[in-house]
Subunit: 483 residues, 4 copies
C-alpha cells in the first residue's frame, strides 16, 4: 500500500485559510492566485514523482514490508540511506529544472534532528521529548505532509545576542505558558515555501546561554494556525515567457518572513522549552543534515552549468579554442568536486543516537567549495555565451515578420545551429545566471544553509586535527609541548 | 560662447523617423514610448552637466579661446588631456548612478581612431581620408551630436573568418559601389544606445586578410538613414519602482542589433573602403581608446560596491567582525587597483600621429583586473548584505497597515538604522548585483570593450618584454641564444 | 610463505656494476657512496614494512592462499583493490616522512598498463605480447624487485614531434633489430630512483603517428645493462643536519637523466615494437594508474601541512586569531578535498580488459586540485610560521654556551613551548617548504605525473559531457542541433 | 664635492670589534670570514654605484649646490623625491641581481620617521627630540654610514602584550636610567644586515599602552657597542657555484637575532623614552616609508620572473602554446600591477610635518598584491621551466668528458639554444624559486615589511570610505542613519 498524496491532494490541502501576504495584499487562496499557482504547480512535482513507476522504488520505502511511504521520512541508519536520500533530492531538483522542491527535504532534516536531540535531552534531563517527536514524525509521514522549517531569526543587530537587542522579540521566544501549551512571539526570516507547506516547524538558530531561556524553543504548528503570518518575497521570480525565462517562468522558490503574533502551541507539539544547553545541539545537528541536503540539490545546477557552457561553445564555434576548453574543464572540475565530496560525506557518516549523520567535514567542504566558487563559474558560462545574453532581441522580434527574417539570418552562428536554438540556449544562460532569478541563485548559494564562515567554523570544530599535529611533531622530533 | 545642446534639444533631435524595434513592434517615437522615455531621460543627463557651473570648466574646452565645445571632442595631446577625459567619463557615470552615458565617449573614441589611422593610410596609400575625418569630427563637435559606434559584427561561426561563413553577410560588407558612394549590408551586434544617437559610426571589428576586401569598410550615417534597422534588446532593464530598483528604474543602458539592409553611404562619410591592411589598425586603435573609456567609467560602480558593502556591514552590526573587515578591505583593494592603473595608463600615454593614446599595458591590465574579479567582489557585497536581499518583503508590504508595523519592528537590524533604510540599501544591492540589471552588469563586465582574452592578447603584443629577457640572460650569464 | 626481500637483500642487489654518475664522477657502488647511502636507507623502508606485523596483512597478498607477495603486484580487480593500493602507497610515504618510496608503485603502474595494452594489441594485431608481459610480471613479483620507469623523453623542442627534431634521438627509438632482440638509443629525463632500482622499464611518452614507427617501443632491462647510463641530479637533497632538515637529511627522492647508448634488449623483454597506434594507449593507461598513485602519495604531505600549520599557530600563540583560523580551515579543506576525490577515483573505477582502472575524472581533478593549489597552501603554512623560518639561528648557536642561553630566553614564544621545540617545528616548515627540498617539492607538484594541462586534457577526453548537454537542451527546449 | 665612501672604506669600517655569531662561533672579522665576505662584496655595490657617472646624478643630491651626498638621505618633500627614491632603490637592487642592498634604504626610512614623530612629540609634549634627530641624521649622512634597523621584537606569545609575557624581556625595554643615558635590554628578530651596518637603529614595533612605558624606547647605537650581540641566520644563503646558483652564490641578504644585553645608550642617541602615546606613531610612520621601500625593491624580481618565464618558454619551444602565453600574460600583469601602484603611491603622497609620506592606500595595496600573489607566479615560472629544474645534471656532469657529450646532445631543446644555455636559465629559475634562496624569497615576500594582515589593517584605517558610503546612500535615497 502506498501512503502518498498526489499533487491534487496536495493542492487541496493548501486551501485552509492560512494568512499569506504578497506585494501588500492578503492572498485569499494560494492555489488560485496567479503568481502562487506557478509555485504550487512546481511543488506538485514532488507528489507526482512517486506516481512514475520508473522512480517509485527509489523514492519510497516500506518499513513493515507492506505499507510504503515517501523515502524522505526514512530515518537514515547508514551510508546507503544517506546516498539514496541524496539521490532523491537530486532527482526532484532535476525534474524541477534545478529549482529545489524542499517541502520534504528540510522538514525531514528537522525531524531527524529532533529525533537525535530529543533522545539526548531525555537521557540527560529526564524529559519526555522523544516520544512526542516520534508521534509527530509518524503524523507527518502517514499524512505525507509538506513541511517548512522556520529557523533563522530576524536577529536585529547581529553583533548582539537575543537578550541584548533593542527589543526582546528579535528572536522567537516564549511569551506565555498555559496549562495546555505555550504562546510564542517573534519572526523568522527566509522561510522556504512556508506559504505552501502544511506544517511549519520552528527550531532555534544558535546556541544560547542561560539568560536566553525564553528563546530556547522548538515546536511545530499547522500553516493555518491563528497568529501566524507569512509575508512572501516578490524577488527572484518572474511571470514572463517560457522563451525568455525557460526555468524561472515555470519554477519558483519562495521565501517568506514568518511572523508569530502570539501563536499558541499545544504541549504535544512543543519539542524544546527552555533547555538552553541543547539549543546549540539542535542548531548544529540540523545543520549537519541540512548542509548535506544543500550539497545534494546542487548537482543538477552544476550539471546545467557544464551543459550550458559546452552547448554555447559548440553553437558559437569556439569549442576547440584553447580558452574555451579551459573554461569547460574548469566547469567540469567544479561540478565533480562538489558531487564527489557529497558522496564522501554519505560514505563517511557518523552514527549518533542510532541515526546516520552525514560527515560534516566533507559536507562542509563541499558546501564551502560550491558557495565560494559559484560566481566564478557563472562568469565562465557567461563568458562562453557572449554579450548577446543581454543585448539580443526578444521572442516577439524573432516571431515578427518585419524583424524575424533579419534575426534568423544574422544570429545563426555555427552552421546548422539556427538563431532560434541559439537564442533559446542564450536565454537559458541569462535566466539561470543574469536575471532576477540568476541573482536569486547567487544570493542563495552564498546564504542558504549557512554562510561560508559557518562552514569554516563547523569544519574547524569537527575536524580531527590531532593526527596531523602528531605527525608534524613526530617528524620534527618534538616529544611534548604545551598547547 | 558655448556650443552645446541642452537635453530638450537632444530629445527633439531624436524625433527623426528612425527605424527602431522593441519587443516585436516598431517604436514610432523613441522620446514618447514608455520604456524609451526612461533611456532618453537618462541620456539627457549628458547634456545637463555643462549647464551646471560647478562642472562647466571640466566638461568643456575652448580651442580658440572663444567658443566652447564639449570636452569629449578634444583630441588628446598629452597625459593631462587623457586624465581630464577620464574625469568627465567618471563624472557623467557617477551622476547617472553608475550607468555610463556613452553617447559622447564611444563616438569620440572612434573619431580619435579614425584621426590616427586616416593619417597613416594617407601617408602610406596616398589616400585622402584624413580631411574627411576632420570635417566629420568638426560636424559632430559643432552640432554637439550623440554618437553610437557599431563595431562588433554578428560573426556567425566564430572559428571562421568573414569570407568562410555560411553566408557572406555575417560581417558588414560593401555590396555595391556607386558614383556618389557605397552600399553596405550586414548586421552589428551590441550597439550601445544606437536608437538614441544622432550618428551611427561603423568600423571593422578585426584584422582582415586580402581576401576579405569587401569587409574592410568604415563609415558613418545618421540614425534615420534608409535601410538602417535597430532592434533593441529588452534585457537588463525594468520599469519597476524606484524603491525596489533604485538604479535600474531610472537608468538604462540599451543595446541593439543594428541591421544594414543595403544602406547607402555617400563618399564624404566613407572612411575606409577596401584597405584591408588597415582594418586591424582601426580595430586596435579603437580598442586602445575604448578600453581606457571602459576603465574610466568603472570607477563609480567600484566606489558603489565599496560603499554598499560598508553600509550593509554597518547596518547589520557586523562591521567589526573579522570576516566583514576582510571583505571590505578586498573591496577597497579591488576598486583602487583599477583606479590607480587607469591613471597610470593616462600618465604613460604614447604619442601616435600627434595624438595621445592611453598606455595599452596599463589599460589592459586594469580592464583584465576589473573584468576577471567583478563577480568575486559582487559576491562579497552580497555576502555582507544577507539573504534578505531576495527573501525580503516588497515596498507595498512595508507600506501596508496590515504588515508594515510587523516589518518595521522585525527588520530593524542595528539600533537607529530602521527597517526602511535597511531595505533601501538591500534593494540597492539587489538591483546592482542580483537582478535583471545585476545580470546585465555581470555580462557587461565580461564582454563589453573586449573580453579578457582580448586584453591578454593586446598585453602580450604591446609589452616590451625584451628588457626583462635581457635581465634574465644577464643574470644567467647567457651571451647569445636563438629564439 | 612470504616471498619478500628484506632491506639487506635489497641493498645487496644494488651492487651489480650499474653505471651511475653524480656530480661529474662515476659512483662505483651506490650502497657505499655517502650521498647514495641515504637514498638506499630511505628506500630500504619499503622492504622493512612487511616485516612489521602491524602492516603485513595490508601490504601483502596471497593469490593461492599459501604464498604471499607484495600487494603492489596484485592486479587490481575492483574498487577495494584500488583502495588498498592507495592505502599502502600512503603508508610507505607516511613512514618515509612524506617522501614517496616509489620503487614498487611506479613499476606496477607500468605492469598493469602493459597487461591491459598487450591484451588489446594481441586482440587487434594478433601479436603475442600478453604472455611476455605476464612472465615478466611474475618475474618481478617473485623476486620482489625494485623497479623504475623511464617514460618522459628529453623531447628537444616541445613544439615538434619525434621525427621533426634537430636530431633523431630526442625520443628513445629502435636503431637496430637483430635476431635475438632490438637495439635502442636515446635518453629519458626525470627517471625516479633509476640508480636504485633492479629493473628499468621503458614506455612511450605520447601518442605517435605512423611516421614515428621507430619511436614506438616498450621494454625492460636490468639496471646494470651495458650501455645504460644514469646521471643523477644533485638537486633537492642535502646532507645537512637532522635538526636543520628533519626530512631531507633522512629522505631523498632522486631522479636521473637515463641514457640508452645503443642498449640491446632481448625479445622476451620487448613489449612494443613499432605498433604506433598503441603508443598513445600505453601512455594514457599508464597515466590513469600513475596519477592515482600520485594522488595517493600526496595524503601524508597534505596532513603534514595541516599539522605543521596548526602547530606553529599554537606555538606562536595565534591559534585563536581569526586570520590564523581561516588559514587552518583552508589547509584542512585542501587536504581533505584531495583525499576525498582520491577515494572517489577508486570507488568509480572502470573495468578494462579485466583490470580495475581508477576513474580518470576524479583522479585528474584530484591531481589538478593538488597541483594548482600547492604553492598557495605552502604560503599559508609559511605565513603561520613567521619570518624566523629564514632569519633564525642555527642548531650550533642554540647549543653554544655563549649564545644558547640568549636564544632559549628570547625565542620561547607561547609559555611552555620552549625555543628548541619551536625551532624544531620552524625547521620542519623550512625544510618542507622553503629550502632546496622545499623547492624540489614545488617542482614535483607541478611537473610529476603530468602537468595540470595534461590533467585538463584527460578530463575533457574522459568526461561524459553528453548527459549535461542533454539536460541543458531539455530545459532550453531545443530538440536537435548540429554540433 | 662628493661626500660618499667607496666600497673599500665601507669594508674597512666594519673592522670594529663588533660581536657577531654564525653557526655557533664568534666571527672575529666579518670582512674576512668566507661566508661574510660574499655579503660584504654584495653590499659594497651600494658604495660603487655613485662612482659610475651614468648613475651619479640620480643617486646623489646636493642640498647647498656644492656638497653632494647620497640621495637616500634627502628628506622627501614631494612626489618627485619619492619617485627618485623609488628609482634608486630599484637601481641598487637590480645591480645586485634582485637582492636588495637595504643598508641605506631602511635606515633612512627610520630617519624620516623620527624626523616626523620627533616634531610631533616636541609640539605636544614640549620635548626636544627633533634637534637630536636632525644632528643624528646629519651625522649619518655626512659619514655616509650603513644603517640597520632593529624593529621587530621577538614578541614571545603573540596573543599577549609586552607586559603580559612570561618574562619582561620579550620586547626591548629600558632597564635603567643613568645621568648620561639609558640602559636597554631585550632582543629584536629579523634585523637585516645588522652585522654589516655601522649603525643599529631601534624603534618600537607596535602601539603601546600606558602600562608599557618601559617599552617605549627609540635609539641608535654603533654596531660595535658593548653588550650588543648579533646572531646571524645561516638560512637562505649558499656558497655553491655560480653555475648552479647564479644569484645566491654572489648575493646574500642576511638577518640576525639582535640581542641587547644591557646596552648603554647616551642621551643624544635616545629618540624616545617612555612616550607610550607616540610608540604607535613611530611604528606606523616607519611602516608607511618602509612599505614604499619594499614595493620599490620588488620591481627587479618582478621583471626577472617575467624574463625568466619568457626565456624558458622560448628555449623549450612552447612560447606559442596557448597555456604558455596565458602564463606569460599573467606574469606581466602581476609585475606591472605592482609597479604601477607603486608609482601611484608616490604620486598621491601626503605631506606630514613638511615631509612627503607615500600614500598608504596604494603602497599597501601594492604590497598586498605582491605578497599574496608571489607563490602563484613562482609556480607559473616553474611550470614554464619544466621538471628538469630539479632532475637535471650538475655542472660537473656537463663538463665531464664521460657524460658531457651525452648531456649536450640530449638536453638541447629548441634548435640553437644549446644545453648549456638552457641549463643556465633553468639554474637561474631554480636558484630564484626552488632552492634555499628561493625559499628565503618566499618567506621574505610574506613576512618582510609587515604581513598581508598588517597591510589590510593599514588600508582599512587609511582609506577614506566616507565618500563611497555617501554615494551608496545617495543612490539608495537614505537621508540619515546611525552607524
Amino acid at each position: 500500500m502506498l501512503v502518498l498524496r498526489d499533487s491534487a491532494e496536495f493542492v487541496e490541502s493548501l486551501k485552509d485559510g492560512r494568512t499569506v501576504y504578497f506585494k501588500g495584499r492578503r492572498i485569499e487562496d494560494v492555489t488560485t492566485d496567479a503568481f502562487c499557482k506557478t509555485v504550487v504547480a512546481h511543488l506538485g512535482l514532488e507528489f507526482d514523482i512517486p506516481e512514475n513507476p520508473r522512480y517509485r522504488d527509489l523514492v519510497t520505502f516500506t518499513p513493515d514490508g507492506k505499507t510504503s511511504y515517501s523515502r524522505y521520512f526514512k530515518l537514515p541508519e547508514n551510508s546507503d540511506d544517506l546516498l539514496k536520500r541524496s539521490q532523491i533530492i537530486d532527482l526532484g531538483t532535476r525534474l524541477a529544472n534545478t529549482v529545489v522542491l524542499l517541502i520534504k527535504e528540510i522538514g525531514t532534516d528537522c525531524l531527524f534532528t529532533l529525533n537525535i536531540v530529543s533522545k539526548q535531552m531525555d537521557k540527560q534531563l529526564h524529559t519526555d521529548y522523544f516520544n512526542k517527536v516520534k508521534r509527530y514524525h509518524d503524523y507527518c509521514m502517514k499524512n505525507d505532509l509538506a513541511m517548512a522549517v522556520a529557523q533563522t531569526d530576524v536577529k536585529g543587530d547581529r553583533s548582539l545576542g537575543p537578550s541584548e537587542q533593542e527589543h526582546e522579540d528579535y528572536y522567537v521566544r516564549i511569551v506565555d505558558e498555559k496549562s495546555d501549551g505555550i504562546v510564542v512571539r517573534g519572526a523568522k526570516a527566509h522561510t522556504s515555501y512556508g506559504p505552501f507547506a502544511n506544517e511549519i516547524m520552528v527550531i532555534p538558530t544558535r546556541a544560547l546561554s542561560e539568560k536566553d531561556r525564553q528563546y530556547a524553543v522548538a515546536f511545530a504548528v499547522p500553516a493555518n494556525t491563528k497568529g501566524l503570518k507569512m509575508i512572501m518575497s516578490p524577488f527572484g521570480g518572474t511571470t514572463s515567457s517560457e522563451f525568455h525565462n525557460p526555468i524561472s517562468s515555470q519554477h519558483h522558490m519562495v521565501e517568506s518572513v514568518t511572523i508569530f503574533d502570539d501563536v499558541f502551541v499545544p504541549w504535544d507539539r512543543v519539542f524544546m522549552k527552555g533547555e538552553t544547553q541543547f539549543a546549540g545541539s539542535i542548531a548544529l545537528t540540523f545543520v549537519q543534515y541540512h548542509r548535506f541536503t544543500a550539497i545534494s540539490y546542487k548537482a543538477p545546477i552544476l550539471d546545467l552549468l557544464v551543459g550550458a557552457g559546452i552547448s554555447m561553445a559548440q553553437m558559437n564555434g569556439i569549442v576547440g579554442a584553447s580558452h574555451a576548453r579551459n573554461k569547460i574543464a574548469e566547469l567540469i572540475r567544479y561540478a565533480e568536486t562538489v558531487k564527489g565530496l557529497t558522496k564522501q560525506s554519505a560514505l563517511n557518516c557518523r552514527i549518533v543516537e542510532g541515526l546516520a549523520v552525514p560527515d560534516p567535514v566533507y559536507s562542509n567542504i563541499a558546501k564551502w567549495h560550491f558557495a565560494s566558487n559559484y560566481h566564478k563559474h557563472v562568469a565562465l558560462v557567461q563568458d562562453l555565451t557572449g554579450g548577446l545574453t543581454v543585448t539580443g532581441p526578444s521572442e516577439e522580434d524573432l516571431r515578427s515578420p518585419e524583424t524575424g527574417p533579419n534575426l534568423r539570418k544574422y544570429l545563426g552562428a555555427k552552421k546548422g545551429v539556427g538563431a532560434e536554438n541559439r537564442l533559446r540556449m542564450i536565454n537559458l544562460v541569462r535566466d539561470l545566471t543574469a536575471s532576477d532569478f540568476g541573482g536569486y541563485n547567487e544570493i542563495l548559494q552564498i546564504h542558504a544553509e549557512g554562510s561560508v564562515e559557518a562552514s569554516k567554523l563547523t569544519l574547524l570544530r569537527e575536524y580531527d586535527a590531532g593526527k596531523c599535529v602528531d605527525f608534524a611533531r613526530k617528524i620534527a622530533r618534538i616529544s611534548s609541548v604545551a598547547e
